[in-house]
C-alpha cells in the first residue's frame, strides 16, 4: 500500500469534516475521491498532504508514519484547484522550484525541467510567466512542478475544477495517459462522477465526512453499497419504491411475468438513446432505451406499456 489512512477524524469548530475515515491506496494506482461538495474529500487529501492536521488517526505514506510530519517532509506532490502558480517566477523557475530547494546542481535542474516541460507540452512557454498562460496551461505547469521532485504520491485537489468543459475533457484524458506513462501513485478529488469513472482505477465515494464505498468504477456502478452511492454514480429512477437504473428497465407492448402497466407521458430522442417518461398509478419514472428498441416498440406519447426490471434486484438497493 502506498497510502494508508486509518480512523482519521478532523473537525473545523463544530463541523465534523472527517469521521473515522480509513482508506488504503495501492501503489501505482490512480484513485478518485468522489463525493458532493462539503463531503470531506478535499480535507482528506489535505490531511494526506500534511496541509491539514488530523485531530486523531494515522496517516502512512510508503510504509512510513507521516501523521506528524510537516508537509515539506512528506514527499508528496500537490496540485491545487486554482493552480497556486508562483506568479513572480517564470514557467521554468516554477517547475524548478522544488529542485532548487533541494539544491540540486544547475545542469541537473535544467535537464529535469526541460524533460518535464516536454512531458506537459509546455516546452515553448518556459520563459513565460503564469499570467501569460491559459488555465489549462497553468494547471499542466503546476503538475510538472509537482512531478519535478519525484514525489512518492501525487495528490490533485479538483485539478480541473476551474477549467471550462472542453479543456476539462482534454486534460482528463491527458491525465490518464500521463499516469500510464509515469506510474506515480495518484489521488485526485472530484465531485464529477463522470470524471471519476473515466479516469480512475478505483474510486472512494465520500459523503458527510464518511467513506461510503471503495471499489473499481464497475464495482461501484454494478454493486453500489447503498442508495446514496447508486444515485451519485449514475442516473436512477424509482420502480415500486426501489431505486433502479433507467437502462435496466425492460419495456414491452405485451404483458410478461412481473410486469406492471405504465403509460408513456413523453418520448425524448437524444441521438442514439431515447428517454421515455412513464407513469404508473400516478407515480412518475423514466426509462432509457436505444433508438432501435424505441422503433421496435413504436413509442408514442399516451401509449400503454408493460415494465419490469431487466437486471436482478440489487440487494443493496433494497436495504434502505
Amino acid at each position: 500500500m502506498s497510502i494508508i489512512v486509518r480512523d482519521v477524524n478532523k473537525s473545523f469548530g463544530d463541523f465534523a469534516a472527517l469521521t473515522d475515515v480509513s482508506v488504503e491506496i495501492p501503489s501505482g494506482s490512480l484513485t478518485a475521491l468522489l463525493g458532493p461538495s462539503g463531503g470531506g474529500k478535499s480535507t482528506l487529501l489535505r490531511v494526506i498532504a500534511g496541509l491539514e492536521k488530523a485531530d486523531s488517526g494515522l496517516v502512512e505514506i510508503e510504509g512510513k508514519d507521516a501523521t506528524t510530519l510537516p508537509a515539506q517532509d512528506r514527499g508528496v506532490g500537490f496540485v491545487f484547484q486554482h493552480y497556486a502558480a508562483f506568479k513572480h517566477l517564470s514557467v521554468a523557475r516554477n517547475v524548478a522550484f522544488g529542485l532548487e530547494i533541494r539544491k540540486r546542481p544547475k545542469a541537473e535542474i535544467k535537464k529535469k525541467v526541460d524533460e518535464l516541460l516536454e512531458l506537459v507540452h509546455l516546452e515553448q512557454f518556459a520563459h513565460r510567466y503564469p499570467a501569460q498562460l491559459s488555465g489549462g496551461q497553468r494547471q499542466r505547469m503546476a503538475l510538472a512542478r509537482a512531478l519535478a521532485v519525484e514525489p512518492q504520491v501525487l495528490l490533485l485537489d479538483e485539478p480541473f475544477g476551474a477549467l471550462d468543459a472542453q479543456v476539462r475533457k482534454e486534460l482528463r484524458a491527458w491525465l490518464r495517459r500521463l499516469h500510464d506513462q509515469v506510474h506515480v501513485t495518484t489521488v485526485f478529488v472530484t465531485h464529477d462522477q463522470e470524471e471519476a469513472m473515466e479516469v480512475a482505477d478505483s474510486i472512494v465515494v465520500m459523503a458527510d465526512g464518511k467513506v461510503e464505498q471503495i471499489g473499481s468504477p464497475d464495482q461501484l456502478y454494478e454493486a453500489p453499497a447503498n442508495d446514496f452511492v447508486m444515485s451519485f454514480l449514475g442516473p436512477v429512477t424509482t420502480l415500486d419504491g426501489e431505486l433502479v437504473r433507467p437502462h435496466d428497465l425492460e419495456l414491452s407492448t405485451e404483458p410478461r411475468p412481473g410486469t406492471v402497466t405504465a403509460k408513456v407521458t413523453r418520448v425524448t430522442r437524444l441521438g442514439f438513446e431515447v428517454r421515455v417518461d412513464l407513469e404508473i398509478d400516478g407515480e412518475e419514472l423514466w426509462a432509457q432505451v436505444t433508438r432501435g428498441s424505441s422503433e421496435q416498440l413504436g413509442l408514442v406519447d399516451g401509449q400503454t406499456l408493460f415494465v419490469r426490471r431487466s437486471a436482478p434486484v440489487r440487494a443493496a438497493a433494497a436495504v434502505s
Binding site: Q72, Y83, F97, G98, I101
Partner: protein, 275 residues
C-alpha cells in the same frame, strides 16, 4: 425639457460650488503657507539657504533625524511584516485586540506617546534606573527617540502589507511547502517577492512619517541642542530664536523629502490599493 435643463444647471452649479470650496480650503491651508515658506526661504537667493543647511548644528540635526528614522523604519518593517502575517495567516485569541492596537497610534496624540514613554523609561522610574545601570539611557537620548518614532509609525507597514497578503492567499505558500520549502524558504522565495511592492510602499510612508515626527520626539528628546535635536525640533528652535533663514531652509528640506516620498510611494503603490 425645461425641468431637465434646470436639473442640469443645478448639477453643474453643485459641481462648481464643491470645487470652489475644496480649492479655497486647500489654498488657504496648504498652498499659501507652503508657497510663503518657499518664498521666504529663497528671498535672498540660494546662498544663505546653503549656508544655513551646512552649519554644524543643522548637519547634526540632519544626521540625528536620519539615524532615528532609519532605526524606526527598520524596526517597523520587521514588526509590520510579522504583524501582517500574524493577522492574515493565523487565527488566535486576541486577534481583534491586536488589530485595534495597531491602529491606536493614529488616534493617540504624539505628545501623549512621548509623555507615556517618559513615565515608563524616565530616569526616575524603576525601568529607567535599571536600564541606566547597564549604560542605556532611553529618555533624552536616541533610543527613546527611536521608540517614540516607532510608535507613531507602527500602522503604516502593517496596513500596506496586510491587504496584499490577504489578496494573494496562502495557496502559493502551501504549494511551496509541499515542494519541500521550510517556513523561512517559503517566506524568502514566495511571500516576500509577492508583497515586495506593498512593503516598499509601506516603508516609504513610514520613512516620511518618521522624518517628520515632532510631538513625541520633542517630549522624549529633551530638545538638547547639538545632541538630541532632530530637523523638526531645529526648525522650531531656530524660529523661536529669530534665525528664520535656517528655520525656513530646514522646513523646505523637510517638505522636499515629503514630496519625494509621496511621489515614490505613488509609484510603488500596489495595484490592489489603487482606487
Amino acid at each position: 425639457m425645461a425641468s431637465q435643463t434646470a436639473a442640469t444647471v443645478r448639477r453643474v452649479g453643485v459641481r462648481i460650488g464643491l470645487r470652489t470650496v475644496v480649492l479655497v480650503y486647500l489654498t488657504l491651508l496648504l498652498v499659501c503657507p507652503l508657497a510663503l515658506v518657499l518664498y521666504k526661504t529663497f528671498e535672498n537667493g540660494i546662498g544663505p539657504v546653503i549656508d544655513s543647511l551646512t552649519t554644524p548644528s543643522t548637519q547634526h540635526a540632519i544626521q540625528i533625524t536620519l539615524v532615528v528614522a532609519f532605526w524606526a523604519v527598520v524596526a517597523n518593517t520587521i514588526f509590520g511584516v510579522t504583524a501582517a502575517l500574524l493577522l492574515v495567516r493565523h487565527t488566535f485569541h486576541g486577534k481583534r485586540t491586536l488589530n485595534a492596537l495597531i491602529d491606536l497610534p493614529l488616534a493617540v496624540s504624539p505628545v501623549v506617546v512621548g509623555l507615556s514613554l517618559v513615565l515608563v523609561y524616565g530616569r526616575l522610574t524603576g525601568v529607567g534606573k535599571a536600564l541606566a545601570g547597564i549604560g542605556i539611557n532611553v529618555i533624552f537620548s536616541i533610543p527613546g527617540m527611536v521608540m517614540a518614532t516607532i510608535f507613531v509609525s507602527i500602522p503604516l507597514v502593517v496596513r500596506a502589507v496586510a491587504p496584499v497578503l490577504e489578496e494573494i492567499g496562502d495557496d502559493q505558500e502551501q504549494a511551496a511547502a509541499t515542494l519541500g520549502a521550510g517556513p523561512v524558504q517559503t517566506f524568502r522565495r514566495i511571500t516576500l517577492p509577492s508583497i515586495r511592492g506593498a512593503l516598499a510602499y509601506g516603508v516609504v510612508l513610514a520613512l516620511a512619517r518618521s522624518l517628520g515626527e515632532y510631538g513625541a520626539v520633542a517630549v522624549v528628546s529633551g530638545r538638547l541642542v547639538g545632541r538630541t535635536q532632530t530637523l523638526t525640533l531645529l526648525v522650531q528652535e531656530r524660529y523661536q530664536n529669530f534665525d528664520q533663514q535656517t528655520a525656513y531652509a530646514c522646513a523646505v528640506l523637510l517638505v522636499l523629502t515629503a514630496v519625494i516620498a509621496l511621489l515614490v510611494s505613488r509609484l510603488l503603490r500596489p495595484k490592489e490599493l489603487k482606487s
